[in-house]
Amino acid sequence: MVNFFQNFINALQWGSFYALIALGYSMVYSILMLFNFAHGDIFMVGSYIGFGVSVALIAVASSGILAMPNWLILVLTILISMFLTSFVGIIVERVGYRPLRNAPRASAAITGLMIGIILETGNLALFGARRVSFPSLIETVTYNVGGVFVTNKKIMIVLVSLLLTLALHQFVRRTKWGMAMRAMAFDFAVVPLMGVSLNTMAALTFALGSALAAVAGVLFGVAYPVLDPYMGILIGWKAFVAAILGGRGSILGATLAGFLLGFTEIFVATIFPSTLRDLIAYSIILLILTFRPHGFFGEPYSARLRL
């Protein structure tokens, strides 16, 4: 039982990474009806930006110009890398997606994939093949709750990701921008006629999604302080799977499916040999999609006429 709770905590942590990244896929999908395949690499870029920002802030703090406690550095790192990475997202949209607005959807998927490769290789060219280690900003404190070990980092990661999901939900529900986004998701042909610019909304969703990916990147760096240029590929594709599994374009679904994927992976790894993790996790996904092909919260597919 203790073991179960221990894995539960670990699964929550993994699930929060998946959920944060899956949200970015899902939001872009709801506006543009296509997936941003460079998103996993935006997560990677966010992580590296976080690395750069935190190193710079530590240098500033230790030089005595502006003394800052470590937790403040972490908060600032998260905020600044959110801000910077959102520009990466906007550039990706501008270069890879806007020129292809009227092209077949698969072509935009290809440009996304290629931008992802460029980001990876560009990073490799900049930093070389060696891995960089994320500076440890907060001390790991381990609490023992009835035999279950919980670290403060895990609590922080889960809380931050849940808070951000809620914040995004509120943003989409309550604000005018959010209303425009929902309207655009409902019908992206008519809403531009009402004075809402499709380009602005697309840039906004890319910026928001990238900011969330940057948070995931920084938190990932805090939890697993080794970064390499290819870290975004696998986690990005898995988050993509989660976004689909939740039902495309559904914020709630993406979050739930992200956590579900985390749980599946962790629990499969505890019950079976860990090499079987991908095999069983993906088989489960295949089964779910075979019986529920439109995900948890998606619209069922029918061969109906589409405009």
Partner: protein
């Protein structure tokens, strides 16, 4: 001037191009080495001088001069002055039964590749991999181009074919620690190799059922995920199967995939896929892509169409995988991952959707480009994606999309000879 050259070159039939290429290849065999030494290059430039130019920029003029002297000028002269002769010959050949004519052209093409490739082992390897890339690209185009789905499962199909064929040949013909002694003498290898490949293809087809059956109920993104999951499952399964040595990979395949074998299989693949997409079921595929409901109303059996297309496409991907394993003589599960997927997708979309022509163009150009830019190391992976993005922006369906591959049109003489007129 420019227009004049263009006009005179447009009269060259395919036969003329092949003759020109053959002359160039033979010329390179004869005088390539002394010329290369005289120009200060250590040996014959393997890929039209690209590798040398990128490795040692000082030698760029020499490499260009070599290419001009060996390739461009002789070929240009030969083709320019052979136009009447080539056209007359092409017209003569055109009157034979189609099978014989095409066989003649293919023999000529093979001769060109053979003579050109024999200069170095590297060229042979590049040729083989390019031919295999053509097969994979074509088979993916059946799904992504003609049927309009976004399948990510082709590396998985390739892996199934590669492992099945490898287990067959390694088990039968090689004294191996895992599979025991050889059952059959190695001399039988070339005869049973097609069996191995076809078995690999069938296994891939069988695996394709896992993607084809869900495709009845869903399309687009969800099918993309199902196929992606399939690819991960195959990779993970192979990593966990101890009898194919898991992540360490399977090596020691007998050297059965020589250039003629690969060439022959590629020809069969192009021929059968071209016929497939021009048949009734190929037209049905397009109908399903454009509007499934309308196709259904027009008595197209959509389920049958989808399943046949998936099995057929997976079969050829499996055969290509089997050949791939025997060309490299080593496979491991991580060969068939996301990287491979990105590569094959790049080839399909670069060349052009819904077009056999386009797949050939895409596969050849991306593989040759990949090899030619090799000296740039990682910057290769910035240039090729950038190129692909530009192609997608300016020609969103690829370079030669929606073009029918018509053999008759291809081999007919370009200039009317007097007898015919």
């Amino acid at each position: 001037m420019h227009r004049k050259i263009r006009a005179s070159f447009s009269q060259i039939p395919l036969l003329g191009w092949l003759f020109g290429a053959l002359i160039v290849a033979v010329l390179e065999r004869l005088v390539g080495n002394p010329l290369a030494l005289a120009l200060g290059l250590r040996k014959i430039p393997a890929l039209f001088g690209f590798l040398i130019m990128l490795k040692k920029p000082v030698l760029i003029p020499n490499a260009i001069l070599y290419v001009l002297l060996i390739y461009v000028i002789p070929a240009g002269i030969a083709m320019r002055f052979c136009i009447p002769l080539a056209n007359r010959l092409a017209a003569g050949l055109f009157r034979f039964p189609r099978g014989i004519t095409v066989a003649f052209y293919l023999a000529l093409l093979y001769a060109v590749l053979h003579v050109w490739g024999e200069v170095s082992d590297y060229r042979i390897l590049v040729l083989k991999l390019t031919l295999i890339a053509i097969m994979v690209t074509l088979s993916l185009n059946v799904i992504n181009g003609y049927m309009g789905e976004f399948s990510c499962s082709h590396p998985g199909f390739m892996a199934l074919g590669a492992y099945c064929a490898s287990v067959f040949t390694v088990g039968l013909f090689v004294n191996d620690r895992f599979f025991g002694d050889a059952f059959l003498p190695p001399a039988l290898g070339p005869f049973l190799f097609p069996v191995a490949l076809v078995l690999g293809g069938f296994l891939a087809s069988f695996g394709a059922l896992a993607v084809a059956i869900p495709s009845f109920r869903t399309r687009g993104d969800y099918l993309a995920i199902i196929s992606l999951a399939f690819m991960f499952i195959v990779k993970s399964l192979l990593e966990n199967l101890e009898f194919v040595r898991g992540p360490r990979g399977l090596s020691g395949q007998p050297d059965l995939a020589n250039l003629p074998t690969v060439f022959l299989w590629t020809v069969i693949c192009v021929w059968s896929i071209n016929n497939f997409v021009r048949s009734t079921i190929g037209k049905a595929l397009n109908a399903v892509r454009d509007n499934e409901m309308a196709a259904d109303a027009m008595t197209v059996d959509t389920r049958r169409t989808k399943i046949v297309a998936f099995l057929f496409s997976a079969f050829w991907a499996g055969v290509a995988g089997g050949l791939f394993a025997h060309v490299l003589r080593y496979v491991n599960p991580s060969t068939f991952g996301i990287q491979k997927l990105a590569e094959v997708l790049a080839m399909v979309y670069f060349g052009g959707l819904n077009s056999v022509y386009g797949s050939i163009v895409g596969a050849v150009s991306i593989s040759l480009l990949g090899e030619a830019l090799r000296p740039l190391e990682i910057f290769k992976w910035i240039i090729i994606p950038l190129l692909l993005i530009l192609v997608m922006i300016y020609r969103p369906t690829g370079l030669v999309a929606f073009r029918e591959f018509d053999v008759t049109n291809l081999i007919k003489p370009k200039q009317r000879s007097d007898e015919e007129g």
